[in-house]
């Protein structure tokens, strides 16, 4: 960790220009990782650099990124949300049931978003007012949510939603998938929030040094709760996009998502100790993870080799990032 205890206040005080220079180099490195991966794949297979594949990669990235944006805020505060996948699972299932019961996309969207937000709020309260370690609190939440989801679904699958709802996951606007627009909106919102608002600066400050943040008058608890609520909200929104994309929900829908979401945040350069990181970095992390799967499928890499390849690429990506962090700090 190269960030000093005053990094948070530094940023708040000195402002945007220094932050940019401090983070410009790592940012370029992160772009470099994605670019390296892209050019390697382009050399290896001609099906990579096609419009169709670009649409795929972006859409798949957006699904992962949506979950990871809110999570980035939580990690920036020095917290963690292990329940994010389970939250997506429960939100998706409840939204699916509401959609099916009422036939109204509006009802489904409200139920999905509210479930996500409520879970986020619960996490935030556990971590702040009950002073539980985030890892354990959200790990407990993960089990709780899975239990509720399994009980509600009872092994059934809810499928077949109105096309007016499916637009948000499967629709296109000017030839670009709708989830990609949602992704860009969240990238913009997330960047604005973290970079140019007091709330964003406070989140960095809390992550950099919680005690210093408290002493300087930042309402630490309410800011942390807000971060968890936002994380729950993006999980709820992601659940709707998943639902609309897959046209069906079942109990284990969120299960494969938690680790990739956390990995996207960390590969993107956000520090697990808080205070350092960007939403853009998370986008790059999500992109790298998506490209790995995409590349392995295009190249038809044998199933048994896929975990190994994934592991090597993640380690190389993080290595490049570590180098970048050292350079950037100088």
């Amino acid at each position: 960790m190269t960030t000093t205890s005053t990094a948070g206040q530094d940023k708040a005080r000195v402002g945007v220009s220094l932050v940019l220079s401090r983070e410009l180099v790592p940012l370029l490195y992160r772009l470099l990782v994605a670019a390296l991966l892209c050019s390697t794949l382009a050399l290896l297979t001609e099906s990579f650099l096609t419009a169709g594949n670009a649409v795929n990669v972006l859409r798949q990235t957006s699904l992962l990124f949506l979950m990871a944006t809110g999570l980035t805020l939580v990690v920036l505060t020095g917290g963690l949300d292990l329940s994010v996948g389970a939250n997506v699972g429960l939100s998706a299932c409840l939204a699916a049931i509401a959609l099916k019961a009422t036939g109204s996309p509006f009802a489904g969207i409200i139920v999905g978003l509210c479930t996500g937000l409520a879970v986020g709020l619960a996490n935030g309260l556990l971590v702040t007012y009950l002073r539980m370690p985030a890892f354990i609190a959200t790990y407990g939440m993960l089990w709780f949510l899975q239990g509720v989801t399994f009980t509600v679904m009872a092994g059934e699958t809810v499928h077949g939603f109105p096309s007016s709802f499916r637009i948000i996951g499967s629709g296109f606007l000017f030839g670009v998938p709708v989830p990609v627009f949602i992704m860009l909106a969240f990238l913009a919102l997330g960047t604005l929030l973290t970079r140019y608002t007091t709330l964003g600066q406070q989140i960095y400050a809390i992550g950099a040094n919680r005690e210093a943040a408290r002493l300087s008058g930042i309402p630490v608890r309410s800011r942390i709760i807000l971060a968890y609520v936002l994380s729950g909200g993006t999980a709820g929104l992601a659940s709707l996009v998943f639902l609309a994309r897959l046209n069906s929900a079942e109990g284990d829908i969120g299960e494969p998502l938690t680790l990739p979401a956390i990995a996207a945040v960390l590969i993107g350069g956000t520090s697990l100790f808080g205070g350092v990181g960007t939403v853009f970095g998370t986008l790059m992390g999500a992109l790298v993870l998506t490209l790995v799967l995409n590349g392995m499928n295009l190249l038809s890499i044998q199933t048994n080799w896929q975990p190994l390849v994934t592991g090597v690429i993640i380690i190389v990506a993080v290595f490049i990032d570590t180098v970048a962090r050292r350079r950037g700090a100088v």
Partner: protein, 318 residues
């Protein structure tokens, strides 16, 4: 804690289906997770059989899906509680052999359902043959695409015996058709989302795909969504016969699916256990035929679970 979990699960799942006579046989039914629709139907079948026979059923399901240690501690629990018999789906075909041996040592009869355990003593095995299902599904799909063209295989969880057997069946069906080429065989982890994204990717690499063999129905549904999203056409087949797949077969979005006989597995599992306790004849093993469900016969398989009766044991095993 475990006790609580079990009681909670029992309360949630039991559907208290069998308000049986107090002296009826008490059957413990062990399945491996709460998410797979197959096990949901196995449990429903088990309840239906108990209803028919005047026995009672308690369900044991690990709270962590397919957890070997959790099943092991459930078995330890059962050795103490001594149910009349156990109907057992092992979370792993090898790792739970010591568990079965403990039940054997305690003198509790065990019926093996769905996944064939590689050891231990069983009154009977009831299940479907995954290789046969893969072969039947593969043959049906390849016939549907005219015995020629490019196919994609979507595998299940890597290293999982069910996936390996089903894919082996697919491959043997492919070998029977000289004109068929497997352009890709990739894993979808038995789950919808991974299968969906893998198929989206594969469609980019392979401009011509005529058929897709998916190792279960959830992945087949993910594949169908990927095809429709990309505006491409290919015939898709799955395995299991879930309600969702039956709907897709009826509407023509899926070519077919192979029947895993889930409900009947539960029926026959409990029936075999009760018959053994009543000293009636029980067959060593009953493997369901690999029936194929397509548009022509889908209605015959689409039976609501609630109130669905169990068939007569003797008529079925004859």
């Amino acid at each position: 804690m475990l006790q609580q979990t079990r009681i909670l699960l029992a309360a949630l799942l039991l559907t208290a289906s069998s308000p049986s006579s107090a002296d009826g046989e008490r059957i413990a039914v062990m399945t491996t997770n709460l998410t797979n629709p197959h096990f949901q139907l196995v449990r429903a079948g088990a309840d239906a059989a108990a209803r028919r026979l005047g026995a009672s059923v308690t369900h044991y399901v690990p709270s962590r899906a397919d957890s070997i240690p959790e099943q092991m501690s459930q078995i330890e629990d059962l050795v103490v509680r001594k149910p009349s018999a156990v109907v057992f789906v092992p979370a792993d075909h090898k790792a739970l052999i010591p568990g079965v041996e403990r039940l054997n040592a305690a003198g509790i009869p065990v019926v093996n359902v769905t996944t064939r355990a590689a050891g231990g003593k069983f009154v009977s095995f009831v299940g479907s043959d995954d290789y046969d299902l893969g072969l039947a599904a593969g043959r049906h799909l390849l016939r549907a695409i005219g015995g020629t063209g490019n196919v994609v295989i979507i595998e299940g969880l890597k290293g999982h015996v069910v996936s390996m057997d089903r894919v082996r069946g697919f491959m043997d069906a492919v070998k029977e058709n000289a004109g068929v080429k497997v352009v890709a065989s990739q894993t979808g982890n038995f789950q919808r989302l991974p299968a969906n994204q893998v198929m989206e990717n594969l469609l980019q690499a392979h401009p011509k795909v005529d058929g897709v063999l998916a190792a279960n129905d959830a992945m087949a549904s993910g594949v169908v969504e990927a095809l429709e999203g990309a505006g491409r056409r290919a015939k898709v087949i799955g395995i299991n016969g879930t309600k969702e797949a039956l709907d897709a077969v009826r509407s023509g979005r899926m070519e077919g699916t192979a029947d895993y006989s889930s409900f009947l597995q539960g029926c026959l599992g409990v029936t075999a256990a009760v018959r053994a306790l009543r000293s009636q004849v029980v067959v060593n093993e009953f493997v369901f035929p690999a029936n194929l469900i397509d548009r022509s016969n889908v209605d015959r398989f689409d039976i609501p679970t609630e109130g669905r009766p169990c068939p007569d044991y003797e008529a079925l095993v004859k």
